[in-house]
């Protein structure tokens, strides 16, 4: 008899779920909204500022080409190399060498942002980096300098109903 009661209770709990809202959202039509504009680091206090760790953004005018980020990433995933941009003449960056990031290797740990003493390299909350070939994942400094465009409109985030969770 206990067998039947327990079976019924699990059937009821299964049926309850049928009348609740779904958790999944349809990715290409709806996109996940991530607030803030990415992880930053303040070298003076040595503490990072909360934010999503997505694609990097490089402020070319602040970058001195010291390649500290390259040395830090050397031990992690060798994703950053220095690249010469002859047409860019920046006072602080005589040899005009700027980091380029290969996103087929990067693990988004953000330690390069911690290593940069000149607040030139931060992370944005852009996470849609897909391509058909590996070469186009190699972002040149100019590409890194472009701030990410605003996410197209139907953005959803996690909302809590009384007894269910959905992306609305």
């Amino acid at each position: 008899m206990v067998f039947i009661i327990k079976l019924l209770s699990s059937i009821i709990s299964g049926m309850n779920q049928v009348f609740k809202r779904r958790m999944t959202f349809r990715y290409p039509d709806q996109r996940l909204f991530i607030e803030g504009d990415g992880y930053k680091y303040d070298p003076k206090t040595g503490i990072g500022i909360n934010g999503y760790r997505g694609r990097h953004i490089l402020y070319l005018e602040k970058c001195t080409g010291c390649s500290l980020c390259v040395m830090m990433c050397q031990g992690i995933s060798q994703a950053i190399e220095m690249k010469n941009l002859p047409n860019k003449q920046i006072t602080v960056n005589k040899k005009s060498m700027f980091p380029q990031i290969d996103y087929s290797k990067c693990v988004y740990c953000g330690f390069c942002v911690d290593a940069c003493p000149f607040e030139a390299l931060f992370e944005t909350n852009e996470y849609e980096l897909v391509s058909y070939d590996r070469e186009s994942l190699l972002f040149t400094p100019e590409q890194l300098a472009i701030p990410p465009k605003k996410r197209p409109e139907p953005t959803v985030n996690l909302k809590y109903g009384d007894s269910d969770v959905y992306h609305g």
């Binding site: 699990s10 991530i34 040595g46 503490i47 934010g51 992690i76 995933s77 693990v107 740990c109 330690f111």
Partner: protein, 360 residues
């Protein structure tokens, strides 16, 4: 009865990337020899060629489900050697992240346990609810699974204000869900019939074999590193340790459920009592004096320990990682003896064995 040797291979739906060589007589397993090593990466050798910060991302990778639990002992060992005290607020954030990670890892455990039993709903619910806690960790640490969030000297960034009410909503929602899990899975009559009394690990064997984590507590030994070898601020928090003397697969799953409740209450306590202040010491350069230190932490799957030897240089001299799955690997020949072939997946997954973590 003729013996049939069956190798539950590295790519079998019933086991992870690890092979178990079973000798069966009829449907019963007489002998099970585990053969790990298919995803061995040599983490200990890698660690000897990277400085103390560069080690963090790759030391987290094996225990991918419980990244904070993986890196917590490493960070404690380095701080022990450097003799520094981490600011109070950072300790609280570390404990919150560790407990969050425990819930995320336990939910993944319940999901895979469900699909190994053929219970597809019990796979989907925990994986769905896991999104709630991954979203919470995402707001704190900025990453979804591998956070690289703990560093020697504290935590990398501060916790935003809205985490408090988001965590409350998540915990209220999840408490209700745990009751649903019990109805549809734990107290499901067919599940009980299949797991109660299966894969028995008696108490003396558990002690003799040095088993860790929920498998140990399911065999009647009330030992948890957070209470025994207290680290960080666990002595200021009050929580119980679920224990069961049933020593079988069902009680291992039940312990995971109870631990999730305890973790939620810990998170609530931390969020109430978290002080303000800096979250990281401003260490310009990680200089570790020579010496050795051994630190352990109660990760989601059991006690995870680091034995760190440094010769004063920029890179550690020797890093010895002892993960809970490697320690539980020794139970496989014992609990699989006499189990039927159909029950091999639940008993194998009952001890929460994660092949990547065991091979390192």
């Amino acid at each position: 009865m003729s013996k049939l040797s069956l190798s539950v291979g590295p790519q079998h739906p019933g086991s992870g990337h690890m092979r178990i060589i079973l000798t069966l007589s009829g449907d019963y397993i007489i002998e099970a020899i585990p053969d790990p090593g298919y995803v061995h990466r040599g983490e200990e050798k890698l660690a000897e060629y990277r400085n103390y910060i560069q080690n963090i991302p790759h030391l987290e990778r094996p225990v991918v489900l419980d990244a904070t639990g993986a890196i917590f002992p490493y960070v404690l060992a380095v701080e022990d050697l450097m003799n520094i005290i981490v600011p109070e607020r950072a300790q609280f954030i570390r404990v919150i992240m560790a407990e969050l990670n425990r819930i995320i890892s336990h939910l993944y455990y319940m999901a895979i346990y469900g699909i190994f039993m053929g219970h597809s709903t019990m796979f989907m619910w925990p994986v769905g609810d896991r999104e709630v806690f991954i979203d919470l960790a995402n707001t704190i640490a900025g990453q979804r699974v591998t956070y690289a969030f703990l560093v020697p000297g504290g935590v990398r960034n501060d916790m935003p204000e809205k985490v408090k009410e988001q965590a409350d909503k998540a915990c209220n929602y999840f408490e209700k869900r745990l009751i649903e899990y019990e109805h549809i899975f734990m107290n499901n009559p067919l599940f009980e019939k299949r797991t109660k009394g299966v894969g028995i690990l008696p108490k003396q064997d558990a002690i003799r074999l040095g088993v860790v984590g929920p498998t140990l507590r399911a065999s009647g030994i009330k030992s948890d590193v957070r209470k025994d070898d207290t680290y960080s601020i666990y002595n200021q928090l009050d929580f119980e340790i679920p224990v069961s003397n049933a020593c079988d697969s069902w009680s291992r799953a039940w312990i995971h459920m109870e631990e999730m409740r305890q973790s939620m209450s810990i998170i609530k306590q931390c969020l109430k009592r978290i002080p303000t202040g800096p979250v990281k010491l401003n260490l310009k350069q990680i200089k570790v004096p020579p010496g050795e230190s051994y630190s352990r932490v109660e990760a989601a799957r059991g006690s995870l320990s680091y034995y760190l030897i440094s010769d004063g240089g920029k890179v550690p001299y020797r890093v010895r990682i002892m993960t809970p799955s490697f320690r539980n690997l020794i139970t496989i020949p014992y609990i699989m003896k006499g189990v039927m072939l159909a029950d091999m997946p639940p008993t194998y997954w009952g001890i929460d064995y994660w092949p990547v973590e065991a091979d390192r």
